[in-house]
């Protein structure tokens, strides 16, 4: 029988997954896992804070349209060789030194993050606040190190910087530096991670970053409406692919080939085919699977998403050197979990380096967002089917009704996605109303992009921290791991590649009027 409602330092953890209020040895609950999907709840604090944070930045950046540049002090990190010329404020009207801009960015980010964590997980003490400040300073440092000329400078930058050689990874090499550091921390210092798991959470940064991508896509849509519509319409294919094709194939694989029970096959199929952690947890809850099932599947998803993130962007770049949009769409369709997928899109963007006006991260995000939209509906379909055909398997938890409620669609809908669509719609509406202020919209998009990248860097670090490879050594996980490996590398990758090719080949990766700009 389910027994929900143990709040571990304000973090929802199903009761039977804890021993005396602490995580078990086998599954130390990677910070990436958000168990709140196991209970139906109209507005999760995590989603609310993502909306406030994302839309708050969109709102402040938008004031640039009316020449009030309130975020212009934010630290715009450039590709650098001279450490005295690393940062310039992103707003052209702000004249301040690089250390002032960097300090302000760090202080603002730490304060907002502390409020976000206080709102979602409870009050921060002095030590966690100090750790949070240090974490964000380390992430900023990783971001700066990723912009070092020998790592980041592309062919376009070399002459300007006086370099003869460079790896050409662009500044987004900072993501990889953050990921590597996160992996080291997560695997060498598990006690530290467990103690500060309220802080080391990728979802805290990915959700507002997705809202910011909505605003940036809106500005791009204003500049080139036909191309933006092309990307959005092609996002429909992703929904069909994930829910109707992947899910069915992986479910069959788990049930027929690997002989898993329905209770295991549903979260496995959802985790591997839809969008990782949140889908495994939500669909597991919809069929009332034991919480343990979704937790084990989610742990596997987190681990393998890091492998995918480390392999797939480079594989895409080598297989598809002239098709960046196919590669970006492929990442959205093949890499599981929002954070890792969008991160993979960012790596793809850095590998292809299409220049200003790139649509690559926007494409990966749009595809992922479209897939996320239907989690609630898929949960309802499964819950109705299970109630009709397998009623004895839908065990009922404390205070829960066994009857399927139509409101579950809304309750399980990831509300932070509303921010993506609101920001997108707001940019389009204002842009159509004020076409003469396009320069201000571009400045707003640059500021949103700056914070989106910083949030991504923090998410990369937290993704690395959450990937505790020791989980793979646990006995009994072999068969689950095999389903995951065969499902992803034997089925999903290649169908996703084929469908991405059909729908995205030949689609330009940059807005046509910006091609050729540095």
């Amino acid at each position: 029988m389910l027994a929900f409602a143990s709040f571990q330092r304000n973090r929802f953890v199903p009761k039977q997954l804890t021993q005396h209020g602490k995580a078990t040895k086998l599954f130390p609950f990677p910070p990436y896992l958000d168990f709140s999907g196991m209970k139906t709840q109209s507005w999760k604090p995590e989603d609310l804070i993502a909306l406030f944070l994302g839309l708050g930045i969109v709102g402040l950046a938008l004031l640039s349209v009316w020449t009030y540049d309130l975020l212009g002090w934010s630290a715009g990190v450039k590709v650098w060789v001279d450490w005295t010329k690393i940062v310039t404020p992103i707003g052209p009207t702000w004249e301040m030194g690089q250390w002032a801009s960097l300090s302000l960015t760090w202080a603002a980010w730490t304060s907002v993050a502390a409020v976000a964590i206080w709102f979602t997980r409870g009050k921060l003490g002095i030590t966690p606040f100090f750790i949070l400040g240090s974490l964000l300073a380390v992430v900023l440092l990783c971001w700066i190190m990723g912009h070092e000329g020998h790592l980041a400078a592309t062919a376009r930058d070399r002459t300007k910087l006086g370099l003869t050689n460079s790896l050409g990874l662009t500044g987004e090499a900072g993501y990889l530096v953050a990921l590597a550091l996160g992996l080291i921390v997560g695997n060498l210092f598990p006690q530290f991670v467990r103690r500060f798991d309220n802080i080391l959470r990728a979802d805290l940064w990915i959700k507002p970053a997705i809202v910011l991508v909505g605003g940036a896509v809106g500005v791009k849509a204003l500049e080139q409406q036909a191309l933006a519509a092309t990307v959005l319409w092609r996002g429909l294919a992703a929904i069909i692919e994930a829910y109707l094709i992947y899910w069915a194939l992986i479910y069959l694989l788990a049930r027929v080939v690997f002989r898993f029970s329905r209770e295991w096959a549903v979260p496995l199929a959802s985790g591997i085919s839809i969008c990782g952690v949140s889908a495994a947890i939500a669909t597991g809850a919809a069929i009332r699977a034991k919480p343990m099932v979704a937790v084990v599947v989610s742990s596997l998803v987190v681990i393998f998403s890091v492998f995918e993130l480390l392999i797939l962007p480079w594989l895409a770049h080598s297989l598809l050197p002239n098709e960046p949009m196919v590669a970006a769409a492929w990442m959205g369709l093949a890499v599981k979990t929002d954070g890792a997928a969008i991160a993979a899109g960012a790596v793809v963007e850095s590998l292809y380096d299409p220049g200003k006006g790139s649509l690559l991260v926007a494409t990966t995000t749009t595809i992922k967002v479209f897939i996320d939209l239907f989690i609630g509906i898929w949960c309802l379909v499964l819950a109705l089917l299970w109630e009709k055909y397998f009623p004895t398997e839908r065990t009922i938890g404390e205070g829960q009704s066994g009857k399927v409620r139509w409101t579950e669609v809304w309750e399980r809908f990831p509300k932070f996605l509303l921010g993506y669509f609101f920001a997108f719609g707001l940019m389009i509406a204002l842009g159509l109303f004020l076409p003469e202020r396009m320069k201000g919209f571009k400045q707003a998009a640059d500021e949103m992009d700056l914070w989106r990248k910083l949030f991504f860097a923090a998410a990369f670090f937290c993704l690395g921290v959450g990937a505790n490879f020791r989980i793979l050594a646990a006995a009994g996980l072999g068969r689950l791991t095999m389903v995951y490996l065969v499902g992803i590398f034997g089925i999903i990758l290649w169908i996703a590649l084929g469908i991405s090719w059909i729908f995205f080949h030949g689609v330009p990766a940059t807005l046509p009027n910006l091609v050729g700009l540095p």
């Binding site: 050689n165 294919a237 898993f260 055909y389």
Partner: protein, 63 residues
């Protein structure tokens, strides 16, 4: 109930065979999915503008 500290309680034994409802769900999903994808692929307009790669970025700069 599964004991998370006892790995032997992770799924090991064979499961029950596929029920008709499951076969129906999987079949309907696959058929509808493939049909919709074909319809979408045939109806979406092709984009005529081909992307051009930027100057190659590698360890050795272009001469």
């Amino acid at each position: 109930m599964i004991d998370p500290d006892n790995p032997s309680e992770l799924p090991t034994g064979p499961a029950e065979p596929l029920a008709r409802a499951e076969i129906g769900l999987v079949t309907v999903s696959l058929v509808v999915g493939f049909v919709l994808l074909v319809v979408l692929a045939l109806t979406l307009p092709k984009n005529p503008t081909q992307w051009q790669p930027p100057p190659k970025a590698g360890i050795n700069p272009p001469k």
